[in-house]
């Protein structure tokens, strides 16, 4: 649905060149919620703004649903933009217009007849649960309600994709959750492709199917959210995950002196459970099957979008061959096993 190829954006200021995007390539499938996470200044905002050409890339191309956006004439770009909805961190609603008139705005721009447009607005307000606030002005709404208006407005022209520029960053956690639920609902209902950027790993965890981690103007890691959580490859990803899930275990636990009989070893491992495997008693059957002890140092279970997901940090003690076979047993059953004791 969205194909970003070798996108580079360089800002020229008086004193220097700032590289905001450095050879970024991405592919977003139709109907998926794709997240881009990065710290402020990493380039994610520039990236999403290049998708609808609010920012003109220095090099590279963006193709949306087969249309090369980067080379369109102004007239064609405007009609292409009508099919790309966008929501913003600060909502960007017109204070001079009521909720109803804000949502009808894109239809006005597209030249949709008034009557038809009015009907569409009513549908949309119903969808976002704001039918009773149609005559209110934005200043009379809460942040969450404003973003709902923003979403209704972005959907007015039945876009092919929805771009979300930090849409929940100005909202409290509870409101954030309700907005994310609304986005998931819309994604589900209309099979609408959503590309969102955020600095909050929770947003990725709650909503996204796939994620790209952007750091210092480059994409450093892309993959299914589950995979990034269970097996992050870069320090940037690990630190984002660490912000919301405690993966690390205190050094004290790791550095316990090993007073062991000969022929017995102790390993500390981290096991990640994903989906179905989270429901099976694999650890206990491993202990029964092999001659070893397992001591649980830390555990955590969570949900990534709709999939159960958890970490368990274990200390295994036993004969080297038994421990090794035990680890194989776990991996063989689809668990992600990672040694964290640096042996």
């Amino acid at each position: 649905m969205i194909e970003v190829k070798n996108l580079t954006k360089i800002f020229n200021t008086v004193n220097q060149e700032i590289v905001a995007l450095d050879d970024v390539s991405l592919h977003v499938e139709k109907g998926e919620i794709f997240g881009i996470i990065g710290l402020s200044g990493a380039g994610k905002s520039t990236l999403i703004r290049c998708i609808n050409m609010l920012e003109k890339p220095t090099k590279g191309s963006v193709v949306i649903d087969g249309i090369e956006i980067t080379t369109l004439e102004p007239q064609d770009l405007r009609s292409a933009r009508q099919k790309i909805g966008m929501i913003f961190q600060h909502f960007n609603l017109l204070s001079s217009r009521t909720v109803f008139d804000n949502v009808i705005f894109p239809l006005e721009i597209a030249g949709v007849p008034k009557k038809e447009a009015g009907k569409r607005v009513e549908e949309l307000l119903d969808l976002v649960g704001l039918s009773d606030r149609a005559k209110s002005y934005p200043s009379q709404l809460s942040g969450g309600q404003k973003q709902r208006v923003g979403i209704a407005r972005a959907l007015a022209n039945s876009p092919k994709i929805l771009l979300s520029d930090e849409a929940t960053s100005a909202l409290d956690p509870q409101t954030t959750r309700s907005i994310l639920d609304l986005l998931k609902d819309i994604n589900h209902r209309y099979n609408l492709t959503i590309l969102l950027i955020t600095h909050d790993m929770n947003v990725i965890k709650e909503t996204c199917d796939r994620v790209a981690v952007i750091d210092d103007s480059r994409i450093v890691e892309v993959g299914r959210v589950i995979n990034i959580f269970s097996n992050p490859q870069t320090a940037t990803s690990r630190s984002f995950i660490g912000n919301i899930i405690n993966r690390e275990i205190s050094d004290q636990l790791l550095q316990r002196p090993a007073e062991q009989a000969s022929g017995i070893i102790t390993r500390v491992i981290r096991v990640s459970f994903i989906g179905e495997s989270a429901g099976k008693p694999l650890i206990s059957s491993m202990i029964k099957k092999f001659d070893m002890d397992a001591n649980i140092l830390y555990g955590n279970i969570d949900r990534i979008k709709d999939t159960p997901f958890g970490y368990l940090t274990l200390e295994l003690t036993g004969a080297p061959d038994q421990v090794a076979e035990g680890l194989d047993y776990l991996s063989g059953h689809g668990l992600e096993v990672e040694a964290i004791d640096n042996v």
Binding site: N52, R78, R81, I84, M86, F88, R97, N157, L163
Partner: protein
């Protein structure tokens, strides 16, 4: 000091002069917006990074606006007498005053409009662009409606300025309260007329400011 009763003709004079001032100021304000409003819009939209960015053009236009604004009105008034004669056939009287008043107010209005429109959050413009709005739609549906309270106050400021300018025009025969004050108050030492003129001017300015404030507040309140 005030000796009204003895001078019923004076009341007539003041009334006529007041009407002339109102007339002259109202028409000049209107005409200065006819030109100044589009100029202000152009100044904003051709500036760097804006929807119709054109740096060279913007610089040239900005310099012209600044040049006209830097000429003191009393000098400007005399400077353009030939032009005034060309346009209305005379340089004396109420109608003739409208020419310098309007021309002097245009760059002022342009800058006021520019300031009002610059206050609009860029995010709103971007939102409209992201929906596929063209430049005209951004101007007519975002910039102007959003800036309406501030634009209203600008009209009040312009009008008040023009009341002051019109009095200056009066000194060189422009009609209105300025002429009255000058002929009677200054040349004939009739302090009464002078004071009445001042009072009428103060009242006029107060009324305009009140009207502007009320309108702006009304628009803002409706949106609150």
């Amino acid at each position: 000091m005030f000796d009204f009763g003895a001078n019923a003709w004076m009341v007539d004079k003041v009334l006529i002069a007041t009407w002339e001032t109102i007339y002259m100021v109202a028409i000049s304000t209107f005409l200065s917006y006819v030109v100044g409003l589009p100029l202000g819009i152009i100044l904003v939209t051709t500036s760097e990074g804006h929807i119709l960015e054109n740096k060279r053009f913007n610089q040239v236009l900005g310099s012209i606006v600044n040049a006209v604004r830097s000429i003191p009105f009393i000098i400007f008034l005399i400077l353009i007498i030939p032009l005034t004669r060309l346009i209305v056939g005379t340089s004396i009287g109420t109608i003739a005053s409208i020419v310098p008043l309007t021309l002097a107010a245009i760059p002022f209005v342009a800058r006021l409009v520019e300031t009002s429109l610059k206050e609009i959050e860029w995010g709103l413009v971007e939102a409209a662009l992201s929906m596929g709005a063209n430049a005209w739609q951004v101007i007519s549906k975002v910039l102007l409606p959003e800036a309406m309270p501030s634009l209203n106050l600008g009209v009040a400021i312009t009008t008040i300025n023009l009341v002051g300018y019109s009095a200056m025009a009066g000194i060189v025969g422009g009609g209105g309260l300025g002429t009255l004050a000058y002929y009677y108050g200054y040349q004939r030492y009739e302090n009464g007329i002078m004071w009445i003129t001042v009072i009428v001017l103060v009242v006029l300015v107060q009324l305009v400011q009140m009207l502007g404030d009320t309108l702006a507040a009304k628009i803002s309140n409706r949106r609150r």
